[in-house]
Subunit: 340 residues, 4 copies
């Protein structure tokens, strides 16, 4: 079956595998202290137009979130997230396992608002409650929507004012950056957030995530946290070499563009057919509301995630494209939808 | 410089990279539920001659230890290890970070004895102290020595008798299995330990560790623990495909054989020269005592780890070989030692 | 000022202080293994008409909750609570600090329903999410309401069916038992919940909480958990002697009766005056909606907790009575309300 | 039987019970924000001749240690202690349960030396190991010995130089202060340590420990840590009133004097009889080496703790006196020893 289940079904861009193969028998220093990690960090700094930030490379998303968040918070401090946020829902309590409460606030279309953060602060008044200290958002969100620059700016301002650390999980950042709905440049991020995670796993890499710290205080002893949480890869150069490849040219950008282009085609076919979307389609994740009889047919040929019952006769599903999605498979899906 | 610093300076066996490249654009189910993980588990079961054990694949060693140990222990339970054990010394308190004390007992040449475990039990008598519940050993040990079958059998028997979980960290198991000093077959392990970690990272894989559970009770909900600790790789098939390659034939064995053969050559040259060893050389790690003036010269050409000052004029160093160590580099080192 | 702020402003029933004074220079075995704890446990067993349950004594409420919950749950398991539940709101993330997520579900008048628990189970489907394993409720609830026997029975049945541990926090149980709205006997509890915490601090004791386990499996090694969390009182007999006094006769019952009687008087005065209640007044906590001008006057003479703004001109406040509330103070408050 | 098993078999000084009884029906603000806690803090400040330190009151020793230590350390930081230290041995892994390794160093007669701390630093070199950040000592030690002012000064200097937090557990400080071997005044402590715990439970109080912070940075948000760990007593005034009584006059000092005087008598009788001590007797704990036949007789009449087998015919036992030890019981023990 053809899968539109997620954006990590395939491996990596050919060029990434080639680079790894070329380097394979070279001797590299361990644990991320090699030249490739250094170079990759420089490329990312350049991309962000920020040359005094720190960059670390980790293996996966839950890992990145738990290492970063537990590194920053004191035992009694908590992180505020949208109730749909990855750390609240899909990480098996990874943050709580490091001792910290996730304060989940209601979100509209996956996005956390200043108002929601404000409310979280207001109800946490003294030492009988946790102390909110960090704001976590995802961009794109878990339902494929995007923050505007204005929204980020407002969240940023509020965080500064209230001494909150502002952390952005960009597991699918390539898709965000390539979206026509996006109005945030890479070079805006240093002024918008404190901590930025640029995803690799879902953006063309075999695996790996880059963590960028614009507030250098968090870099102190951060490698202790990486190691303690089992997140320090012995052959760290494997991460470095991948992000080198992604960011020395436009590979990262292109990964997002291809994923979005494929999603756009599917979106158009769906819209033409008259089906609607549960969340506005902005990136490489589509949340489509299908009539149940159509869905039944689709499920025989394609893999995707059932999201939820919308009413008695309709169900929403999540369709995801990636840098690796084949145009021919998209055409098959479109044809199928048109004829269903 | 030529590095004998560790066994993770290079990447992976060519065949492993080839396999990944072949599979690269295939669509695989995520999170280790793919066919490659299944196949790899079967090959490992066959290698161990044990068909009702459970096999999981994780990314790194500290990660494997912390996920496994925290999964098994109740909050007040502790794990007994040699004071030189990896979890006690070199994992930045990863086990303690999950809430558990490591009871470190003095070891002889890196090995934990029944006597030491017995003593640990004896001094932990009631609820005012932690409750020892697991015994952790490494084979090969952190100083390159090997347990005999008899030693493992005794530890096993003691553990059974005292309801202790017996966990063996085999990060360098390929070297152990290929050692002429080894008298333990793969098929012995199911009867000797409860939990077995077969290392990949240091044994020919790009990265990855296999965790085998002979006591099936530990398998229940184990995937929750993997996920919670940030150890579940989205593209889990990357791990499966590597262990498939390592265990479907004799790749794993050969990785160990090459590493040991290289170490043996160095060992012989050192012995001929009259230098001695801090620990008996049994596997791919040599702990050599060099006169300081010789050491000074060596350091200009080769990388290795300074272990400790032995006396005013001698220092021990750790020299490590691997599946990837080039014979020509070994010859250079030998020549250098002979002429130093 | 006269305080109606809480039910722990005063010390203990005279008889309790007398008992402590009598015993003061006796030598007792430490850590709760004394005769008083044993006796107290027997009185509680008799009160509950259940002679094979285990009873432990702890110092405070947050402590009791965190020791009990962390003792029962595996690392990836979570506890379901009403969003107004004490463990979710007012314990500074104590449960999360032991590694566990509190799954907060919307509640009606402070009560958790089967439907809410059902929903919590439904949205936690696999290993990418925490595993709900315990249901926590408070009776009386944090807003003074009471569960009916039928409601508890339904929750109990649902928990049994879904292998959930059912834990009831009865910090103010004396008030619940003495309420005319209560239809649950002490002897019903062994059949209704797995774990029962009978509060002392707010029910006539100087301090201390009793924890009753009807499922004996949780008793195994429980003293390790008590000690590890810093909850084992050296002079444990102090706890035993207090619960002995509370439960050998009707002291506990009377503590609740007095608190409720005082609350009833205030309630009637408020109702006569035409003010309303935010939550139905059932026990020793009243949540009264006052016009803001009345409130301003009240605040000058009495202490209580501002709960929340109800509308532009009204605010709800929490008024609490206790075993120690003086009738004369109640009369002063009533007079004040009548004349305000 | 007469117990010399510990110094917490009895309750509290009469005056403390009286004070509690007097205050019993007063209304006090909760959670340690009352006037008694304030007053008690002032008396302690005066005793220490240090008026800008912060003072908090907690219930028990393990609790005090775990709250304080977990409050100060970052996740990857560890505390250095003597291997005989209470936090290493007798707190059921309470520190590890908050995520931190206890680095246990060999001790001579229960004392940690600069040399041992130095060694601990030396073997913890990088991010693959925990980061030592705190030094924990007990005075008197767990084996009844005392630090000299010079020893503390040296430890202090070393800690300052290496940015280590220096924490002193004085669970039995009254006995230390009253010892003729002691050369440290209360007013020396502010210059000698960063954090000081003055024990109440074993020094005349019913229960309770005072925590003094000379480095005010640790006071920030400390109440969040107290609450989160279940250590915030609702009726906090109970702690305040006790420490008020202990420190407004010389009650604390006298508690230690009596305990020591009783120990001295026993010590002299033992020495006259020719028995020896495992550790030099300096405070209210004696570690006596008895011939096994004598021990057998003693055990029939008196309670104490068997410490360890010294040789085939001798065993050491711990004999403890307290503020409450009755002279007549001491005389009985002395007589028994003389005649044994």
């Amino acid at each position: 079956m053809i899968s539109f289940k997620n954006d990590y079904s395939e491996g990596a861009h050919d060029i990434i595998l080639e680079r790894i193969a070329e380097e394979n028998l070279m001797q590299n220093v361990g644990y991320g202290e090699d030249e490739h990690c250094k170079k990759a960090a420089e490329f990312i700094q350049k991309q962000l137009q920020c040359f005094d930030c720190d960059v670390h490379f980790l293996v996966g998303g839950t890992q990145t979130n738990l290492v970063m968040i537990s590194h920053c918070l004191k035992p009694y401090q908590a992180v505020i997230a949208a109730d749909s946020g990855h750390i609240n829902v899909h990480e098996t309590g990874a943050i709580e396992a490091t001792g910290h409460k996730v304060i989940a606030m209601p979100s509209g279309q996956g996005k956390l608002t200043v108002k929601a953060v404000q409310k979280a602060l207001k109800i946490h008044t003294d030492e009988h409650m946790v102390q909110p200290k960090m704001v976590y958002i995802s961009n794109p969100t878990e339902v494929g929507t995007l923050y505007t620059k204005k929204e980020l700016q407002e969240l940023h301002n509020f965080c500064k004012e209230h001494h909150l650390i502002f952390y952005l999980d960009g597991a699918r950042m390539a898709s965000a950056m390539a979206s026509k709905y996006n109005d945030i440049a890479f070079s805006d991020y240093p002024k918008l957030v404190d901590l930025l995670y640029l995803g690799g796993t879902k953006c063309g890499a075999l695996f790996g995530e880059a963590l960028v710290m614009f507030q250098r205080e968090w870099n102190e002893d951060f490698r202790f946290s990486i190691k303690q949480k089992g997140a320090m890869l012995a052959k760290g150069w494997l991460l470095g070499i991948q992000f080198e490849a992604l960011f020395e040219g436009d590979l990262y950008q292109k990964a997002g563009e291809h994923a979005n282009a494929m999603a756009e085609k599917i979106k158009n076919a769906i819209a033409q057919k008259g089906y609607t979307f549960q969340f506005p389609p902005c990136s490489n994740q589509l949340f489509v509301i299908f009539p149940d009889d159509v869905l039944q047919k689709l499920e025989k040929e394609f893999l995707f995630t059932i999201w939820e019952k919308v009413d008695n006769h309709h169900t929403s599903v999540r369709i995801v494209t990636s840098w690796a999605t084949k145009e021919e498979n998209v055409q098959k899906l479109i044809k199928f939808i048109q004829e269903a």
